[in-house]
Subunit: 177 residues, 2 copies
């Protein structure tokens, strides 16, 4: 499967869950996808919950999501920060309505809640934010990976292999279509 | 590619490089491979250089490498610890002579040096241990991934996508053969 023509955004802020950011980024690069880490501005050195570093490639306002095929949100505490940026929320909404592949894992659901795109959607997340997800109108399932149209979600780092399998399957349909 | 029938050992000790342990483990699980983390004994809670946790499944003496198809050694400071265990060194030697797929990244080469299996082998590693690798008889190359028969090596975390591409290619030949 050659995904060389595809581009994916990975949102980033401090205290991301280290593996939930990096496994998807490295996995997509292994598949040939161009991945950009998007934070407040370019070249910010962020640190994960455990301290694994990651540097942003561009700022929220420096890219056009229409040029990308997917948008991933890592878990950890980064989603609590990311949801405070109107440009980040706008990007998630644009990605949703433009039918980009949207991936969210663990606490990432907070960002989708603030983007108000979860009403009637089947999703999962860390059980810790199940109430927030349901209050936003989502149908919450305790499964390793849940796919509802263009929204793909998982619960925790140990779900990453199944999460990325689903993300890659969805992205490969972008190549065919 | 269905690698469900394969089993791989990943050696572990404290201060492993977090992504160099976890990217291969999760990537192999995504491909259907059964991965076991092998440390001093079962159920030890190790921590990576940055603090990402990982728990051993079995101890060095509790498995038979003949039942596995590959053996991976992570980087970080774990290799400096691992090379002190005669059982671990014996396991690496057995894996080498039984033509298992052997993966080593970054500082992992120290373990292969102590296993005395590098004479005349083309390898890479973090540039920091280039001298140690050459003194052990290896031919050192500055490339993202180097494959010499059953030994596959890479330099650093950013090489992980190419490293795992090569590891999976070598493992897939185990299914065919």
């Amino acid at each position: 499967m050659n995904l060389n023509s595809l581009k994916v955004v990975n949102l980033i802020h401090d205290d991301f869950e280290d593996l939930e950011l990096w496994y998807p980024v490295l996995r997509l690069r292994e598949a040939g996808v161009m991945v950009h880490l998007i934070g407040e501005k370019s070249n910010i050195k962020y640190k994960g919950k455990y301290g694994v570093p990651a540097t942003s490639d561009f700022g929220f306002s420096e890219i056009n999501i229409a040029e990308y095929d997917g948008l991933l949100v890592p878990g950890g505490w980064a989603p609590d920060k990311l949801r405070r940026y109107p440009e980040a929320i706008q990007m998630v909404q644009d990605a949703f309505y433009q039918k980009k592949v949207i991936g969210q894992i663990c606490h990432a659901g907070w960002v989708l809640i603030s983007a108000k795109i979860l009403k009637g959607k089947k999703v999962t997340s860390t059980p810790g934010i199940k109430d927030d997800m349901e209050n936003a109108g989502a149908i919450w399932l305790d499964e390793p990976v849940v796919v509802d149209e263009n929204i793909i979600s998982s619960r925790r780092p140990s779900d990453l292999p199944l999460y990325m399998h689903a993300i890659l399957e969805a992205l490969s349909r972008k190549v065919i279509s």
